[in-house]
């Protein structure tokens, strides 16, 4: 057995040395020729993550987070930033914060970390633009392979681009980590693999905290799990913890059939976020009823905190989940036309998160034939 072990070890060792001498297996990809990637210290990575998340690095256009849309359904551009806690957690899932191969000690230099047979590079395992020479400018490819700060800034930029092409969550605010759910999904791959309802993953499954097999979780659950449970205390735990959308709201997204928008998972959930009511001028008021629930299935107090539209009323003003909210639109004093209003609610568990239902009130003789229509999203 000892001889067998020795001989196999000899072969393995020789193989490793050959790989070491030949820069990296991944140089079949971008052909960077890099052999001297710096292995950053943990504190260096943490500080760089913070800078990259705030879009403060901006080495060039490849490492500058684009302006991001904020708000829903009519987003307006805001300067691009990504939540640092998510960027850090992605770095943990991808590489455990290593830029060079794992055998290179922190503070040392060596070949860039790449998966055997793959083209992901460095801390953020950048693959896009790294699968063949010239896919990005040679200098950019080399910096992604060699320079951990450039690599992290490129990762933050890629995440920003994912924000732009994936469904919105809640009020679609880039400052809210929960609103990056689909962007984080897409950072890995925007396919059914990462659907939380994929039968490949067991259900029920405990929330990921680093102690469970990763195979049981879609990528974004690994990221949010590490974000809530920072390895070795590398960043403060978010308080309150980040939450994931109920898997029912993601549904069968493949994702060619992905929804445009899903509700904010932090808040109470309404059965509809857009309501259309109809009435005749001077006729009886129109009513619509909404369900109010807690995504965690619990009993949470809620209350109405504001509204827009003098013609719009609601009842009750507060309640407990699961409950109902009745909206009443009165046409008294209104002429023919379309009126828009809004009711804002909060749950006692997260009173800082306002949940709004948009109400469209159509007044006119034509509409008497119609029952109120209720839409799913805003």
């Amino acid at each position: 057995m000892a001889v067998r072990s020795f001989l196999v070890g000899l072969l393995l060792g020789a193989g490793f040395l050959a790989a070491w001498a030949r820069p990296a297996a991944a140089d079949d990809c971008a052909q960077t020729g890099v052999t001297d990637a710096y292995q950053p210290q943990v504190a260096e990575v943490a500080a760089t993550m913070d800078q990259a998340a705030a879009n403060q690095l901006r080495f060039d256009r490849y490492t500058t987070i684009p302006d991001l849309g904020k708000g829903w359904p009519n987003p307006t551009p805001v300067p691009g930033t990504v939540p640092a806690v998510l960027l850090k957690a992605i770095g943990i899932v991808e590489s455990s914060w290593y830029q060079a191969v794992y055998l290179v000690p922190r503070g040392g230099f060596g070949p860039p970390l790449t998966p055997s047979g793959g083209c992901g590079y460095g801390v953020m395992q950048i693959t896009s633009g790294m699968t063949r020479p010239g896919e990005l400018p040679v200098d950019v490819q080399r910096r992604i392979a060699r320079d951990y700060a450039y690599n992290i800034a490129r990762g933050a930029t890629m995440l920003g681009y994912k924000w732009q092409v994936t469904p919105a969550v809640g009020s679609n605010d880039p400052a809210v980590p929960e609103h990056w759910y689909f962007a984080v999904w897409a950072y890995n791959q925007w396919t059914y693999l990462n659907n939380p309802n994929n039968p490949a993953y067991p259900w029920p499954r405990p929330p990921f905290d680093g102690s469970q097999p990763r195979k049981n979780y879609p990528y974004q659950e690994l990221v949010y799990g590490f974000a809530n449970n920072p390895p070795y205390g590398r960043w403060p735990k978010p308080s309150p913890p980040l939450v994931l959308p109920p898997r029912e709201t993601v549904g069968a997204t493949t994702p060619t059939n992905a929804p445009d928008w899903i509700p904010d998972p932090r808040a109470i959930v309404l059965s509809a976020y857009r309501v259309v009511l109809f009435a005749e001028p001077g006729g009886p008021p129109a009513q619509g009823v909404l369900g109010v629930t807690d995504p965690a299935g619990g009993s949470v107090g809620w209350r109405v905190v504001g509204k827009a539209g003098d013609w719009l009323g609601y009842s009750p003003a507060s309640g407990t989940t699961p409950g109902r909210l009745t909206l009443t639109a009165s046409p008294v004093g209104l002429g023919n036309g379309v009126y828009t209003g809004r009711v804002d609610l909060v749950g006692d568990n997260r009173p800082e998160v306002i949940v709004s239902v948009a109400v469209e009130f159509r007044v006119g003789p034509f509409y008497r034939r119609f029952m109120p229509l209720v839409g799913r999203g805003p």
């Binding site: 072990s5 070890g9 000899l10 060792g13 490793f16 998966p115 309802n197 039968p199 990763r214 195979k215």
Partner: protein
């Protein structure tokens, strides 16, 4: 450089030695009666145990498998209970394209690699004769999935090529020997070889074929509810089933989870086997129908349990994260 060479060489020798030691198996207590095969996950390795159903303290370590990327193993025990097949991702490519298939002799702990470049996320399904497993090659981006049969000497044959699907899952073989698989669309379909059986709205999951190969059970997850469904594999007819989870057995019976109760019965006659709560679900009976394995999610942990035919429930304790792979030989 010389010092670095030495370090690297010693590390290589040490790792290989550990792998060989693990693959050769480690001594442990012998067990009598049916034994469960349990994979105990740690972030850098998985231990495979045989645990006596009669006495949980009687455990034998079959082997310890290195898993440097911490993704865990997807494994299952052969019908004869002597071999387990498992997928492990050594870090090549991505988990869904770079996993390796190994077989593990449960008596000796000896391991053998049968295939590579497979999808870690699809557990091996054994052919009823125990001579081959079916697995998946996945290209999620290209929406191409190959279901491949690999026999015990590593010969490989693609039996299904699914194009344009969001995912495809091998399930097993029906009573006529047709391959049963599930295509995730839309539309979602059960496939009997090439014959599609459309499924209602919702995501199908947890597919199991009855031991006689005539019925497929699955769960259908839709907004607001998860329901059970069976598919008659002779007629293709879908039938709703009461309860939230189902396993086949003991014997010709079915065991359902309904409102936190395990119900056993057949032909419309039901009895309560035990009250386990809604966070617990049944996984499988031993071949003799004396013990039912369950899993329970509690906080951030998963716990395995055993319910005997009289309804008594016991918990199996593990330091790591336990997953049930099947029943070892001696169970019948």
């Amino acid at each position: 450089m010389t010092q670095k060479f030495r370090l690297v060489f010693y590390a290589a020798v040490l790792s290989v030695g550990l792998v060989l030691a693990a693959s050769a198996g480690l001594p442990g207590a012998a067990s009598a009666g049916p034994t469960l095969v349990v994979a105990e996950y740690f972030p850098d390795r998985t231990r495979v145990w045989e645990v006596s159903a009669a006495d949980f303290q009687s455990r034998r370590l079959v082997g310890e498998i290195r898993d440097p990327r911490g993704y865990g193993l997807n494994g299952s025990v052969a019908p004869d209970g002597r071999t387990a097949a498992y997928l492990v991702w050594p870090g090549r490519n991505r988990p869904e394209t770079g996993a390796e298939l190994w077989v593990l002799d449960l008596r000796t702990g000896g391991g053998r690699r049968l295939g590579a470049d497979l999808d870690l996320y699809s557990a091996p399904r054994w052919r009823p004769d125990g001579q081959a497993v079916i697995l998946r090659r996945a290209d999620y981006t290209g929406r191409r999935f190959g279901l491949v049969e690999i026999d015990l000497i590593g010969r490989e044959r693609e039996v299904v090529s699914a194009q344009g699907a969001a995912a495809a899952f091998p399930v097993g073989w029906d009573f006529t020997g047709r391959l049963v698989w599930v295509s995730i669309g839309p539309p979602n379909e059960v496939r009997l070889a090439d014959i599609p059986i459309p499924l209602p709205e919702g995501t199908p999951r947890d597919f199991t074929i009855a031991p006689d190969g005539r019925t497929l059970a699955l769960r259908l997850t839709a907004p607001g509810a998860t329901r059970l469904l069976t598919v008659d594999l002779a007629s293709g007819r879908l039938n709703p089933e009461p309860g939230e989870a189902l396993v086949w057995g003991p014997g010709p019976s079915r065991t359902r989870l309904a409102d936190g109760r395990l119900m056993v019965g057949s032909d419309g006659r039901q009895r309560i086997l035990g009250i386990v709560g809604e966070a617990t679900e049944p996984l499988g009976w031993d071949p003799a129908g004396r013990h039912l394995v369950t899993r329970t999610v509690k906080g951030n942990r998963q716990q395995l349990g055993l319910v005997d035919a009289a309804g008594a429930i016991r918990s199996l304790e593990f330091e790591g994260y336990p997953e049930f792979w099947g029943w070892a030989g001696g169970g019948s």
